[in-house]
């Protein structure tokens, strides 16, 4: 006997894992992406070449494959397994894979945003005696944020749904949980997972619209 309320509760519990992965990925990938962006824009040619190649590899291969490589790779190479045993370790490995993957995507969005700010803005800051950090934080940054909000919103919405890929290494997120029911002949829990994603993405959409409105007071 399946109780609807019990099933929904278990699905919600599993969705928490999706939410956790989402939050941790953003927390680390947003700043790391900026570091990667500066690396790929660096005037030091070897550094920028290395970073660009890395971004190409990460963006050019499936996230699912990256998760497997990161989880199993070290052990297969004969190194001591860096991941803690059990479900905790699988989650940490998933977070690491997601952070690396999303940092690379974010870095390209940042790069586009930074390069779109006219050179004259930096020059105006320079002739006014500002330091490089001052120019970045006081002049450039907000213009970059305004420009990258739409593509960022897009990418972050993709992240919500990508969190399901964590089940590649048996992290029990919502889709995996729902599939256990369909294996037993009950199909509706799997379809109902859509509601969870839709609500989450709906909230994000409202948030991003609000942010875009907030920055509507200037044009660049």
């Amino acid at each position: 006997m399946f109780f609807v309320s019990v099933i929904l509760e278990r699905l919600s519990g599993a969705f928490l894992l999706n939410c956790e992965l989402f939050a941790l990925t953003l927390l680390f990938a947003l700043p790391l992406g900026l570091v990667v962006a500066f690396g790929s824009m660096s005037r030091c040619k070897p550094l920028s070449a290395v970073v660009k190649t890395f971004v190409w590899i990460i963006r050019g291969t499936p996230l699912m494959l990256q998760i497997i490589v990161i989880y199993l790779g070290p052990g297969l190479l004969g190194m001591t397994n860096p991941w803690p045993t059990g479900s905790g370790g699988r989650m940490v490995a998933a977070v690491v894979a997601f952070v690396i993957n999303y940092a690379c995507y974010f870095s390209e969005i940042y790069r586009g945003g930074i390069e779109a700010v006219p050179k004259g803005q930096t020059e105006a800051g320079q002739v006014l005696g500002m330091t490089k950090p001052q120019i970045f934080f006081k002049v450039t940054l907000l213009q970059v944020i305004k420009r990258i909000l739409p593509p960022m919103g897009n990418e972050i919405i993709t992240l919500v749904k990508d969190t399901s890929l964590a089940n590649t290494i048996a992290n029990k997120e919502i889709i995996m949980m729902a599939k256990e029911y369909s294996a037993k002949g009950l199909i509706w829990p799997l379809f109902s997972t859509a509601i969870f994603f839709l609500v989450f993405v709906g909230v994000l959409t409202i948030l991003f619209n609000w942010l875009e409105k907030k920055l509507d007071y200037f044009r660049c």
């Binding site: 020059e123 105006a124 907000l142 007071y217 200037f218 044009r219």
Partner: protein, 260 residues
């Protein structure tokens, strides 16, 4: 001693010699106009004076103090160049106002950041801020923009934006204020308001270098004119004399285009 002495300034971009051995001097209170066709190197010269481009040869001195010596790397340190830039102000052709700040904030921003480097900043924070704001408001008033202080750049016309940019440059009290074709990006009916401000600054004996295509303005307002062509100074002299009686053939040709 002249306020500004630049000698032997040369600048190459790849194989192109944009500036060849340019020398110029400027006295305190003097307004110098630089004229010449596009590609003659006048904008590059102005950018060299503001260290937005680094001259490959030559020396720049302000008040006898060496700002830049292409042969002496000790004068080329990034941290010192930032301070040396403050001797010069630059008003750009495209204004380059900061879009996320109001007119008043645009004028105040750099001053506030510089004030933070003062040793007494923490103690006198409020007084310093009030003083900067007072000064910024006066400057905007001088530009005829008191009513526009809280407008964002996109809410202002091109002429108004350029006047805010002039106030922003003046706020740091530069020794020499440089203008890079300040009216070239403006609709013809808006150039007048900017030229009036420049005329007013000249009347107040502001030391200025103005790169311009406005020949009548240069003749009436500048003390001296420098005509550049192909990266060299072809002719230089008192404004009216150079305009009315140019000596060099190349100058005559150039001015003839404008008298039609």
């Amino acid at each position: 001693m002249a306020l500004l002495e630049a000698s032997g300034i040369g600048k190459n971009f790849e194989e192109t010699h944009v500036l060849k051995d340019i020398s110029l001097t400027l006295e305190k209170g003097e307004a110098l106009a630089i004229i010449g066709s596009s590609g003659s190197g006048k904008t590059t010269l102005l950018r060299c004076l503001n260290f937005l481009e680094r001259p490959d040869t030559g020396v720049i001195k302000v008040n006898g103090e060496t700002m830049w010596d292409a042969a002496d790397p000790a004068t080329q340190k990034e941290s010192e160049i930032r301070k040396k830039r403050l001797h010069f102000g630059l008003v750009f052709q495209n204004f380059n106002l900061f879009p996320q700040y109001t007119a008043l904030q645009n004028v105040m921003l750099a001053g506030e950041l510089l004030a933070k480097e003062r040793p007494d900043y923490k103690v006198n924070k409020k007084a310093i801020h009030a003083e900067l704001e007072q000064q910024a408001k006066e400057l905007l008033g001088q530009m005829g923009l008191s009513e526009r202080a809280n407008h964002y750049p996109h809410q202002l016309s091109g002429g108004q934006q350029q006047r805010v940019a002039i106030a922003r440059a003046l706020a740091l009290h530069p020794d020499i204020l440089c203008f890079d074709e300040p009216t070239s990006a403006l609709d013809p009916e808006l150039t007048g308001e900017v030229l009036r401000v420049l005329r007013d600054l000249a009347d107040r004996k502001t030391t200025m270098i103005i790169v311009t295509h406005e020949m009548h303005f240069a003749r009436d307002v500048a003390d001296r004119i420098l005509f550049m062509d192909g990266g060299v100074v072809v002719e230089e002299g008192p404004a009216k004399e150079l305009m009315d009686h140019p000596k060099e053939e190349r100058t005559k040709q150039f001015l003839a285009h404008y008298s039609e």
